[in-house]
């Protein structure tokens, strides 16, 4: 996934760059937004002929630093999870996509679990990048039928100017959540594991 940011003051003033900019210049933290389903993912899931599933345990992978799940720093600013942990934000994202696709069932015997393995942002000077990774597993009727670590990465043009670099980094990082969900749902092995 490639993500390049606009560099103009005019673009800075546009919708995509608006959120939180004033706060960022003051060095404040901001939060992830509540996830809403992504049209392309829902369109794909609706025709995938999958069985309904539910989200199980989403947590930080064993052995990882606890801070990985709590915050990502972007120069003088930071981005924090909406739910208290990035792994739970990822869970909410997965649930939102499945619910909008009519594929979420709290009583399902098909359970999706995940362990957050990577979460990072580098605002850079000329180029920024972010990575998000999780080890997903699917259990059906008590039997593990899928396990795979999936990674998504975002790269964008950055700037030495914080007013440009920080919003771009936040967009770049936050956009990884729908991207990771989409990557999971598009994975052929995942689809085989949840096939009707």
């Amino acid at each position: 996934m490639t993500h390049s940011s606009g560099f103009s003051v005019a673009r800075t003033a546009h919708i995509a760059l608006v959120a939180g900019l004033g706060a960022m210049l003051l060095g404040c933290a901001s939060q992830m937004v509540q996830p809403t389903a992504t049209p392309s993912t829902v369109q794909s899931l609706r025709t995938a002929n999958l069985t309904s599933a539910r989200a199980g345990t989403f947590a930080l992978a064993p052995g990882k630093d606890g801070g990985l799940d709590k915050s990502v720093s972007m120069r003088a600013s930071s981005l924090e999870p909406r739910t208290g942990s990035f792994s739970q934000d990822l869970r909410d994202r997965i649930v939102a996509e499945l619910k909008a696709s009519g594929l979420y069932d709290d009583a399902s015997s098909a359970v999706i679990d995940a362990q957050l393995t990577e979460s990072s942002v580098d605002t850079g000077i000329s180029q920024g990048n972010a990575r998000l990774a999780a080890r997903f597993s699917v259990t059906r009727d008590g039997k593990r039928v899928f396990e795979k670590e999936l990674v998504v990465e975002s790269v964008w043009e950055s700037s030495f100017i914080g007013a440009v670099a920080i919003p771009a980094a936040k967009r770049g990082y936050e956009g990884l959540y729908p991207a990771l969900a989409n990557k999971l749902f598009a994975d052929p092995d995942f689809r085989a594991a949840l096939a009707r």
């Binding site: 993500h3 003033a13 919708i15 995509a16 959120a19 937004v33 809403t36 389903a37 049209p39 369109q43």
Partner: protein, 208 residues
């Protein structure tokens, strides 16, 4: 459908803060936004209303250069939902699946048009107190995708729009419509592209 109307107000407040911020970062010249003249609102009375109308699942997505932009999506989705609700084309609107399976998705992708280093040019405008002007054009590609109840093939429509921002002493494109603020320019642009998508979808022979 629980859309956050409060977010729109916060957006306006943040935009005001942004303009102040921009002066602090050295631009020194307030950008003047102009909405491209080639696309105007289509009034809902021109839409071809189906009989009967059906409930629809509505999903909206804002992207920046092809990449999901959850923050902007969160801020703008209530406006789009409100406009779709007032179109008269659908019954109940929901983010969740609806009876009959109708699905309307609207995606707006913010793309660079001029491909130039606008920040560098803007700083030049600021350093010369606006004597050297800069024009920057931002493009918006809006896609509408509608799956009618019981249908498998979607109706797909696309419209394109632009906002031109003048920084310093620079003339806008002919016919471009001045907006009092960047926020209003973005609001106008969004309303216009959604009205065209709804109009085009409603006049498609497969629409029901």
């Amino acid at each position: 459908m629980k859309f956050n109307n409060y977010a729109a107000g916060r957006w306006v407040a943040r935009l005001g803060g942004l303009l102040v911020t921009m002066s602090l970062v050295g631009c020194g010249v307030v950008p003047k936004p102009f909405v491209d003249p080639h696309l105007r609102d289509v009034d809902a009375s021109q839409f071809k209303k189906p009989d009967p109308i059906h409930p629809v699942q509505l999903l909206f997505d804002f992207k920046t250069k092809g990449v999901e932009n959850p923050k902007a999506t969160d801020v703008l989705k209530a406006r789009v939902a409100d406009q779709v609700a007032k179109s008269g084309l659908f019954g109940a609107i929901s983010e969740a699946p609806v009876q009959g399976g109708a699905l309307l998705t609207i995606t707006v992708d913010h793309v660079a048009v001029d491909g130039s280093d606008g920040m560098g040019k803007a700083f030049a405008s600021g350093l010369t107190f606006g004597l050297v002007g800069t024009a920057v054009t931002d493009g918006y590609i809006a896609d509408g995708n509608y799956v009618a109840p019981g249908a498998s093939t979607p109706i797909v429509k696309e419209v394109r729009h632009a906002i031109h921002t003048m920084i310093g002493n620079h003339e806008p494109p002919p016919g471009a419509v001045a907006s009092p603020s960047l926020e209003e320019a973005a609001t106008t642009m969004l309303h216009q592209v959604v009205s065209h998508l709804l109009n085009d979808i409603s006049h498609d022979p497969a629409f029901r």
